[in-house]
Symmetry: C2
């Protein structure tokens, strides 16, 4: 193996991928990036507004368009992006492919880590871009689209580096045959399947796209990045940074192309069905996701919708639990794929060290915890952020019409910094375990359901069924008895859903840490991808072994 | 990790899987297994004839049936097997699953190696059973269904052991937060997706089934083994050996069930479509294989039909090449999935150290080499074996009607030991590169096509197209110039087909060695499985990670 600039970074990441202890290459605190960085990033973001995004190293566009609107100011960003036809994008990807394919994985990984360093220099530009397209708070925008996304990208690079170095490039095969030995020279090549297509979503335009982009690139595939038309800027900055480095290193920047489109004339299906596209990463709604998964001849990686559950059985500190859950449901107004939606609470209440807390008392405590958080002027707006789009706002508005008992009505969120922000506080509804038609739908956004069950066994059974039939990315559970914990683990793991037990304090079920937590296990209807299990890398290339008689 | 009986065997196999040099756990020479073993095996095989196969540890059968006929004697074996309904088989598999799933992979791997040792004690029983169901020669029957199959099974066990030990079962995750650290206890569980179904074929009933059986079992899945109704006995003996060991070790023998059926009332589709079946391994024709691959909600591993090519450009020793190819096409009468079918030869002939050999001279030499082999009383019948079924015989009979120029007519094979054997010598046909409709079909059995091309570039182009459109498992090429070799490698590898260069002597393109050669790369229409790349294991289970606040 060659000595490469970022070898130590890559090797530490490979080790972290396997140890699954805490590891991070990119500090999550903004202060780690220098005093000037935030303001410089903000200034560049402001300068970008109302101008064409001209930093891409792509040419031959058929037009320019853009339709992003800030969920905080409700004003258009006024940025336009170059548009390309699907044929043009695929042709350029194919043309760029051979040089990259024939570069060793060590060199590819090295260059890709260099692109992450370049993206790092734009972390604050990306943060403001994320905030004003997704509605995430500034802090979440910075962390999710910056260091956390880069860590997930490094995870994919490291897994690729590890897997493509799994077998020797060349090997002598010598079979003893008594008086002589048969000899063959063999070589093993990891042939990329691509080009790849990465389809982004409007809520996590960078975090959900970088893993697929880097998984494609490290395995030797060119990649076409198709962002959601309402959240282009954050990933456009990242793609532009990747293109800069590729060009500086003597590679064709078309190895990573941006494929912006508009709501009026979308190109996603055309790209998906293009015979040249062989790999598709998709984040978004289940209906389109199921379509993508059904396409013949494509290797597909999806993260779709799910219904995440919380099972409440027994706790040691009810107030700490309620504060933790109130934060989990409020964080980015329930617009995270990991946000809990259904809270299963036994009709007989839950156990605490001070005796049983009745169902109604639990409901009251939950309501109070959410209310305290969202009305706290220092916490509310900063935690809830803004709603990315009107559909989510309407869903929150209409939560009272679902047929459930309304425990807490949602209402327009007061945001003193952005008075026009699209914000709405969480609605809390109560239903019975028989009201499946209500709680088995994904109610994306600030709507949560407290489900009164017969007992914890019914809670487990329902949470399991939801995951099996509708998918789940997470499950939180509060239980003291080892038997109950084991029962919950067995039931949820059997439908390939991870369980987080007894979270209180500064750790929330919504968070999946790079290098340690698999994100979307791939075993239930919530999706078939996982950041980053080995398959996320292996399904993007094919091992081919050639043989030759020695001396020939 | 525990110390287990077969730890050293497993660890050596893991190392071999990764080094991909020559490795074998089970010697391929019959003499390695003791002087008495062949006769004892033969006697047990003869004693089994015309009796029910009662060694299985399965009960509750709905009837008994069997329809095997020896391709050597053309007489029914007269053996019957217990029949079970699909529901019954799946129910029993599900019931057996939890204990096995909750056993560590180390213990599972140890027990599974023990089952291979048990199978080894039946190598000769299986050899005679294979010979008299498939029509393979005795030596091929012994090697393919015995040591080679066991080596492939060990390869799968070792890959499973390696992959399921990739992550720690438990890990402490500690995130520094300035003045304190967040701590989570995490555990990572490999949750099996099964039950699995392994569908066998009539030509390689053991070699093609053991890898899927062992890949399912090592990853914690119960498996149902559905052999071809005309080749049940060889795998029935193996399944029975596996059941014996499972029971001895305190496990439910239903973890590995035989699901015999009949041509008149097949149960394969019912099993495939059973909602309880989650994993399917399939070997056989492309039409059924494509159906299996299309089933929603199943993880599928296939080996289907392909059209394997030989590209002839230039040689150093034409006679050595022709002897090698004559053996390759004659071995088991072209009934191997790796057998070459289409020979692309430039109209201008091929280069040798003694000048150009014209197209017609090449054809003549090929014809003579095949004739010399098949008419050699010491070689012919032993190499060609017998034809498994009448469809293959009819195809060989009718080769002259395909519309090609007949270079060598096939004819009934003389077999002095088995005078009634279903045998037919290879037919050699000649076509032009324009006659795609003839050479783009898989002509399974003793039929080969010499295709006259414009030049080597056209040969490469056609071989590439055949692989891309119809699938290919192997490609042989004869070329001296490094540029030509590189061109062939690039073209064939780009459609995920391995190339074997300049094979002469005791090595043939048909052979794929365990621990070194991937078998079916998974990248073209010939199938999506590969013995044994990591995906062959990884797609059978899901990593699920659970988290818990420490001290809770």
């Amino acid at each position: 193996m060659l000595t490469i600039k970022h070898q130590s970074t890559i090797e530490k990441a490979v080790k972290a991928n396997h140890e699954r202890a805490f590891y991070s290459q990119y500090p999550e605190h903004p202060k780690a990036y220098g005093e000037q960085a935030p303001e410089e990033g903000h200034n560049r973001f402001k300068a970008q507004l109302n101008t064409p995004f001209s930093q891409l190293l792509q040419s031959g566009e058929s037009g320019w368009a853009g339709e992003e609107v800030s969920p905080y100011t409700m004003e258009p960003l006024g940025i336009t992006y170059p548009l390309f036809t699907a044929d043009d994008l695929v042709e350029k990807a194919v043309a760029a492919a051979p040089q990259w394919r024939n570069t060793t994985v060590d060199i590819r990984a090295d260059i890709l880590v260099e692109t992450l360093e370049r993206i790092q220099s734009y972390f604050f530009d990306i943060a403001y871009a994320t905030m004003h397209t997704t509605g995430q708070s500034f802090m979440m925008s910075f962390q999710a689209s910056g260091p956390h996304a880069n860590d997930r990208a490094l995870e994919a690079i490291a897994m690729g580096y590890h897997e493509l170095n799994r077998y020797p490039a060349e090997q002598l095969w010598e079979k003893p045959m008594g008086k002589f030995a048969l000899q063959l020279k063999k070589n093993f090549r990891a042939m990329p399947k691509g080009p790849g297509l990465v389809i982004g979503c409007s809520t996590f335009p960078v975090w959900n796209s970088l893993p697929g982009i880097y998984a494609d690139l490290v395995t030797g595939n060119p990649v076409i990045v198709k962002p959601h038309p309402r959240a282009i800027l954050p990933i456009a900055i990242a793609v532009s940074a990747i293109q800069q480095v590729l060009q500086e290193k003597g590679f064709n920047p078309n190895l990573c192309q941006l494929a912006a489109d508009t709501s009026a004339t979308p190109i996603t299906k055309t790209l998906c069905e293009h015979p040249g596209i062989k790999l598709i990463d998709y984040t978004g709604g289940s209906q389109f996701g199921n379509y993508v998964e059904s396409l013949p001849g494509k290797s597909v990686f999806t993260e779709k919708a799910g219904v995440n559950s919380v099972i409440l059985d027994s706790v040691t500190d009810i107030d700490a639990v309620m504060q933790n859950l109130a934060f989990s449901v409020s964080l980015y107004s329930g617009q995270m794929c990991t946000a809990p939606q259904n809270f299963f609470i036994p009709a007989g209440g839950i156990q605490t060290p001070n005796g049983t807390l009745s169902f109604d008392e639990v409901v009251e405590k939950f309501k109070n915890a959410v209310t305290a958080l969202v009305t706290n002027p220092k916490m509310g707006a900063g935690t809830l952020g803004a709603l990315q789009n009107d559909t989510t706002l309407q869903r929150a508005h209409n939560a009272g019409k679902l047929g459930a008992k309304v425990i807490l009505e949602g209402q327009p969120l007061v945001n003193e910094e952005f008075t026009h922000a699209r914000g709405f506080t969480p609605a809390i509804l109560q239903v019975d375990s028989a009201d499946r038609h209500i709680f088995e739908q994904e109610l994306f956004g600030p709507v949560l359901l407290l489900v009164k069950t017969k007992d914890t066994d019914e809670s487990i059974q329902l949470a399991r069924q939801m995951a099996q039939q509708h998918g789940a990315i997470t499950c939180a559970a509060y239980a003291i008895s080892p038997d109950t914990k084991e029962k919950i683990t067995e039931a949820m793991n059997s439908v390939f859903t991870p369980v987080s037990f007894n979270f209180t304090g500064f750790i929330w079920v919504n968070q999946h840490a790079a290098f340690s937590d698999f994100h979307v296990t791939g075993g239930n209807p919530a999706g078939n991808a996982s950041f980053t299990n080995p398959e996320f890398i292996l399904r993007r290339f094919v091992w081919v072994g050639n043989r030759e008689v020695t001396g020939s």
